[in-house]
């Protein structure tokens, strides 16, 4: 009973120990196979040729059959917790395996005359028990093979002539799909939907095996639906069984693909949903359909260059993609160099666990100066965020900063940096954030920024920049956001508000 309950607990991640021992199952499992078969063969031999081996020998073999079968059950159960097996077969295999152990114990206890002393008829149970144990052994062994190698492993290379005799379906033809070269020109059903169906669904929904009366191997059959009706409602994915069953929790009996089989990826479901919502056409290209924000990145990931065109209407773009410097691969920084920077009281922080990109901050190094800045280019590949605000650096340091070709964010606020320094930053192709507040920068310096095509935000509070200078820069970089900050007059304006009256309306 407890086994059953545990199975339903559906543990998401068993411990390493459990899986470690679980992996011994395929080893241990061969012991009861050998022992039991030997016990069976010796028993046959003993029945036909009197006095071939002593009953004690067979008792001993049966004892070890039972012990090893029990261990195989325990390890097998642990292995199953790792998941990834087809539920139905797994369940059969488990009960057959437990049966082997139970009947092996029974056979042993009768043979060893432990039971014989209690029940007089116990001897009658010996041969049936051994026989059932052997039959279950064969069944469990076969199911186990199916679980490990797949149900078609045995028959995979069966010659066609023998296939027809054995009633095994002919070899599945390998389906080839035309690869997508340009996603805009891709045929939605033929090159996107059909490959998904073939990789995850057609195995059970084809001409030979059409579970639930459903075949998903051709447009006609998809339109035909399953035994209870159609599988999709064109234009309405929410009412379409094809999508609904994929979205059910994996534990649900109706969830597809069944638990343990290869599951659809989130992007696969998104594509199927999109296809159905677009009317489930079988003869349209991607560019004929409406591409919304949700599906655009998924389509883009299918490959084939070029931005996703939009057949119907243009939709506002989704979240801005991350800067390439955040996703590109850069070599790991030399730990000696990092230690040198740390000696200058700089903080050197990885952007994330799996990336080599670095943030360098001088928040604890207010005396950081131009001479020390010469150390920075040693990490020219890695530094993407650099905080030098409120330090003693001046224009000379910017010559070093200019070598940090992957910089995305640069803090120079409240330093002695001037227009002359900004001139040197022209080569920072990825720079998006530039903080210059509290510096002596003027319009002349601002003009130098016009070549930073990726610049998104520049901070100019408490500088000598004028409205004209900003306007000029904006003609060169129309998408640039300039944060000028609040002047004393603006504060006076902000402070002024009306007192809330809170007058109740008359009844």
């Amino acid at each position: 009973m407890s086994e059953l309950i545990l199975l339903q607990a559906n543990p998401s991640s068993p411990s390493d120990w459990v899986l470690f021992w679980g992996h011994f199952h395929p080893l241990i499992v061969h012991l009861p196979i050998g022992f039991l078969l030997i016990a069976g063969l010796l028993e046959i031999d003993r029945l036909t040729r009197r006095n071939s081996v002593s009953p004690h020998t067979i008792t001993l073999i049966l004892f070890w059959s039972a012990v090893s079968a029990t261990m195989a059950c325990v390890f097998g159960y642990m292995l199953s917790l790792g998941g990834g097996y087809e539920e139905e077969t797994l369940n059969d295999h488990m009960w057959e395996g437990i049966g082997v152990a139970v009947f092996a114990w029974l056979a042993w206890s009768v043979k060893s005359e432990n039971l014989g002393r209690i029940f007089s008829f116990a001897q009658l149970m010996y041969l049936p028990a051994l026989g059932i144990a052997l039959l279950l052994l064969l069944a469990a062994g076969h199911q186990g093979g199916n679980l490990t190698h797949g149900s078609d492993y045995l028959t995979q290379y069966m010659p066609e002539t023998m296939r027809t005799l054995a009633g095994v379906p002919p070899k599945m033809k390998e389906v080839k799909f035309e690869p997508i070269t340009d996603v805009n020109q891709a045929m939605v059903y033929q090159q996107i939907v059909n490959p998904i169906l073939h990789s995850r669904c057609v195995q059970c929904h084809n001409a030979d095996k059409s579970k639930g009366g459903l075949r998903l191997d051709s447009p006609e059959m998809i339109k035909k639906g399953y035994e209870d009706g159609p599988v999709f409602v064109a234009g309405n994915s929410k009412s379409s069984e094809l999508v609904k069953v994929c979205l059910l929790p994996e534990d649900d009996d109706l969830h597809m693909p069944p638990k343990g089989k290869n599951q659809l990826k989130e992007s696969d479901i998104a594509l199927l949903t999109w296809w159905i919502d677009q009317g489930a056409p079988f003869d349209k290209k991607v560019s004929d359909l409406k591409v919304n924000d949700a599906i655009r990145p998924v389509l883009a990931s299918l490959g084939g260059g070029g931005p996703i065109e939009n057949g119907a209407t243009s939709v506002a773009s989704g979240p801005a993609p991350d800067s390439p410097v955040l996703t590109m691969k850069v070599p790991a920084a030399d730990s000696k160099v990092i230690d040198e920077l740390k000696k200058l009281n700089l903080l050197v922080l990885p952007l994330s666990k799996e990336q080599n990109q670095l943030e360098v901050s001088a928040v604890n190094a207010r005396t950081f100066n131009d001479a020390q800045a010469a150390q920075l280019p040693k990490l020219s590949n890695q530094i993407v965020w650099l905080k030098l605000g409120d330090t003693e650096i001046s224009d000379a340091a910017l010559a070093q900063v200019a070598k940090l070709k992957n910089l995305q964010k640069l803090h120079l606020e409240e330093t002695k940096v001037t227009d002359a320094g900004l001139k040197q930053l022209k080569g920072l192709a990825y720079l998006e954030y530039l903080n210059l507040y509290g510096t002596a920068v003027t319009d002349a310096g601002l003009a130098e920024l016009a070549e930073l095509k990726n610049l998104k935000t520049v901070y100019l509070w408490q500088t000598k920049v004028t409205e004209e200078g900003i306007a000029k820069l904006k003609t060169a970089l129309p998408k640039l956001e300039v944060i000028g900050g609040i002047s004393e007059q603006a504060v006076a304006e902000f402070v002024k508000v009306a007192e809330p009256k809170g007058e109740a309306k008359k009844d």
């Binding site: 459990v18 801005a320 901050s361 902000f494 809170g502 309306k505």
Partner: protein, 489 residues
């Protein structure tokens, strides 16, 4: 027996058990009894050490947000007077809350006994502001001026109906005390961006008599190493208790004292192997550095007058919400990771129209000023400001309803929170409540979802930031929480 020997004994017994239990039989049995959690499931049996989780100290992916300022509004501000415009309450004023809306949901003992639940409309008018035409109350005239920078969630809901469990739930992910708070998780998971200041700082604005109390458990490290607990910065000349040297002790002798103490601690650690000894040493050293860094960071004497003007007249009075907003900015400038500010006084069960007016006035201008100030300094680019309470307030009047006066009871089923800053869509209003502001009708956001989203912005996968305690792995979001992706910019 000597205490040293005792600890040694315990250690060796523990070690012995740890190894012995790796025996085959025990494992088989244990796994059958508890298949998921054999030795806690990880490959490292034994006690959890600070370095246990390899992700600790580094984000899982590049963060959009480097720092958080959480302007916690304790007592539960009424969303119906401030943020969630419900004209239907005006037309149905005085009528009973339809039973179909309440649907038998529980109320607090304070109003459950009322014979009627007359609907109360906001006494204060609403208007639309900013490029997104966001509805805001006339109680928040300054906030209205920065509407374009705000991101609203109107569909938050929580599980607790009383203050203490609800605040604890928001701050620790559990209604019961004892779990690490939000800031502690972040300090533990992401470390510090300033070696001279704690990464989790707490600012308390002065309450008034009768306000709902705040407890130190809200910024406790729980079972996390104690270096991650929130450090309260008080107002006035001595912001951190016992930080300054006592009279007669100068910097040099303090340094020498710490050096010798460090040696003693190291000696002790070798014997006892208690990680808390290392934490204590780290705390002593941090306190020593803070003797310089704290006065320097919190020095507001050089702030120009117009900055004080921007935060409002209260900003010159230490301990007010406004003064603390200014301090929060100073701390963010120094890259303190998590600044938790608590403001009390929103628990308006009765006399709501008058009280909320005073209360809103105390926060409106400083909150807006903080956003503007962060923005002009380039800090809003990677700082997230959160403004909200532990739950909302109900649509019906608690106590007598008149045109001029009414009260509102606790309401956990729907309330509003705003955010401003990095990683969230500016000017967005997410989620929707029904005509009574009672139930969420679109895009509900549970407290755990909210926490998961903030962690996501900080570059943390909320399911991966875990700590093992008492045989179980814990997260801020417990076993719940989904990142609210539509909010992300």
């Amino acid at each position: 027996m000597d205490i040293q020997d005792e600890i040694h004994d315990q250690l060796s017994r523990r070690t012995f058990l740890g190894q012995a239990s790796a025996g085959l039989g025990t494992i088989a049995l244990a796994s059958l009894l508890n298949p998921t959690n054999l030795f806690g499931g990880a490959s490292s049996p034994g006690t959890s050490m600070p370095g246990e989780n390899p992700a600790v100290g580094k984000p899982h992916f590049p963060p959009k947000v480097k720092r958080v300022i959480y302007l916690f509004q304790s007592g539960a501000p009424s969303q119906l007077e401030l943020f969630d415009y419900k004209p239907k309450l005006e037309t149905m004023w005085g009528q009973d809350l339809p039973a179909s809306v309440r649907n038998g949901q529980r109320l607090t003992g304070m109003s459950a006994g009322q014979s009627r639940f007359p609907l109360a409309a906001s006494k204060y008018k609403f208007a639309q502001y900013g490029p997104g035409q966001m509805w805001l109350s006339e109680l928040l005239p300054h906030t209205a001026k920065i509407a374009g920078d705000l991101t609203f969630v109107r569909s938050l809901h929580t599980e607790a109906i009383n203050h203490d469990p609800a605040v604890t739930f928001f701050q620790t992910g559990s209604q019961q005390a004892g779990r690490p708070s939000f800031g502690s998780w972040i300090s533990y998971g992401l470390g510090s961006d300033n070696q001279n200041l704690p990464s989790f700082v707490v600012l308390l604005s002065k309450g008034r008599d009768g306000d709902q109390p705040l407890y130190a458990k809200l910024w406790s490290n729980g079972f996390l190493p104690s270096v991650h607990q929130g450090v309260v910065f008080r107002s006035g000349p001595d912001p951190v208790y016992y930080l300054n040297n006592p009279p007669g002790v100068d910097k040099t002798s303090r340094r020498r004292m710490l050096d010798y103490l460090g040696k003693l601690h190291q000696e002790q650690f070798k014997h006892v192997l208690d990680p808390e000894i290392n934490n204590r040493m780290a705390q002593y050293e941090m306190a020593y550095r803070m003797q310089t860094s704290v006065p320097e960071t919190l020095d507001i004497s050089k702030e120009p007058d117009y900055i004080f003007d921007m935060y409002g007249p209260d900003s010159r009075k230490p301990g007010t919400f406004a003064a603390n907003c200014l301090l929060a900015r100073k701390l963010v400038e120094k890259d303190v990771k998590f600044i938790q500010l608590y403001h009390q006084g929103w628990d308006q069960h009765g006399n709501l129209p008058n009280d909320i007016k005073t209360q809103a006035k105390s926060v409106d201008q400083p909150s807006a000023a903080l956003i503007m100030d962060l923005k002009q300094r380039g800090l809003l680019d990677d700082t997230l400001v959160i403004w909200g309470g532990e739950f909302g307030r109900g649509a019906y009047s608690q106590g007598k309803l008149t045109r001029d006066n009414y009260g509102r009871d606790h309401h956990p089923r729907a309330f509003s929170v705003w955010m401003a800053g990095a990683g969230v869509k500016k000017g967005m209003v997410y989620g929707e409540t029904d005509d009574f502001g009672y139930n969420v009708v679109k895009d509900p956001v549970h407290v755990h979802d909210f926490q998961a989203t903030v962690l996501h912005l900080l570059g943390v996968d909320h399911e991966k930031l875990t700590f093992k305690s008492q045989g179980r792995r814990y997260r801020l979001t417990d076993v719940h929480g989904k990142v609210v992706k539509p909010l992300l910019a």
